[in-house]
Subunit: 242 residues, 2 copies
Amino acid sequence: MSPSFPKSYKVACSNCNLRELCMPMGLSEAELRYIDEMVGSRRKVPRGDPLFTHGDPFKALYAIRTGFFKTTVTAQDGRDQVTGFQMAGEVVGLDGIVHDRHTCDAIALEDSEVCVMPYDELEALSREVTALQNHVHKIMSREIVRDQSMMLLLGSMRAEERLAAFLLNLVQRLHARGFSPLELVLRMTREEIGSYLGLKLETVSRMFSKFAEQGIVEVRQRHVRILDTVALQQLVSQHHPE
Amino acid sequence: MSPSFPKSYKVACSNCNLRELCMPMGLSEAELRYIDEMVGSRRKVPRGDPLFTHGDPFKALYAIRTGFFKTTVTAQDGRDQVTGFQMAGEVVGLDGIVHDRHTCDAIALEDSEVCVMPYDELEALSREVTALQNHVHKIMSREIVRDQSMMLLLGSMRAEERLAAFLLNLVQRLHARGFSPLELVLRMTREEIGSYLGLKLETVSRMFSKFAEQGIVEVRQRHVRILDTVALQQLVSQHHPE
DNA sequence: CGCACAGTTGATCACCGTCAATGAAAGTGG
DNA sequence: CCACTTTCATTGACGGTGATCAACTGTGCG
């Protein structure tokens, strides 16, 4: 590894601490430099602001550097549903590719910063760098698999199972980013959790209370401490008997 | 257009009648020939048989030439859920890219035939043919958007809204393939519809009966005739008031 | 300090799941 | 070709889960 200082304050992909999360492995120096070049700019998104909204022309994918986002889809009648929560190292914007317009909203749940990857440049570069092409495909495929497991959750799990799965998924992802696997601070409201899980906010609140009563978690507002991971896992995998 | 006879009985992409469904537009002769070459083989899948199942090593994407498929995901505890129904011109197998293994099952609901597109060859060729690269990305993005609208359906719609949306989606896709927009033959059981929509088969049956009573559809087993498309559309877009 | 918002908890109810019985269709083998 | 079995579909009665409505509490920010 031959270190080279970045030309400016701007952090380059080549020495970004999220590299193993959002970059393919085993790139050459030259390839990394190309990618640095493609990821032209950063963009700060203050809490509550949209990174993009449905209808916006699609121009780029965004890798989250810091912060936390939710994505929501909106039905014709105006009601919307949270389709995901994204954290550092994850990519948003894939929905826009089909129709050259975004079909969902991405809203920052805390002050955030994203790396802008102009789509045409990304396509061009991934024609040159096989590892990047493969990486992009894997990211899209991962999203498809994730969405399908959400369909399973929404279609066949009960409230407590959904919330248990949600908590486990969150801590697992946070753990992969160096945080505690037993403690987390929720960045979203009960209503947003409910929307994501196909439940009403009151139900989410009730399930939290229930878990707390059973000694599975400790809940103080948005601060959650997991006391019994195994119990949560059993809740998820023990669907109501056939 | 300079016609050239295929070397064998094997139908080539270049003169497949599904071309506009599964191929990018505006390809050159040479590019089309490359694609013909990549789509090496066909595979027949008899009704009830799997095209692939979860755990199978991922080697190829499959374009459906004839027939009808369902895809299902399976939870740890063994319960599964239908995540989609696919018809001619649609692509299955995208789930396998992330982990080099399929994560869902694809089962033929009628005798079917698919075009096998070996994934490494597809990747290689889409590095050469920009239109193909773009096409593959759009297909994946479309799948993501579709899955997210299913999440909306499963998370926020009631039984009758779900079934209405399902029927409208089916006839719309069939219509795009030259079939009647008012009549369809379901290729799946009530249970499979229910699994897809997050409902029990009895509920699906009841909703069919209810629609029939209201004069919205005519149902005889798997044969469905739509009498009032507008009513169905209104059902979908009129979520229960907030 | 007060106001808006987020969260909790209780009472009631509706939708849909469950259980069960029946009927229709389709495939099977004599 | 017709009994037989199996699968699929319909319908009814009942109950449970989670939605709805409502009141109250806690928290953070201006």
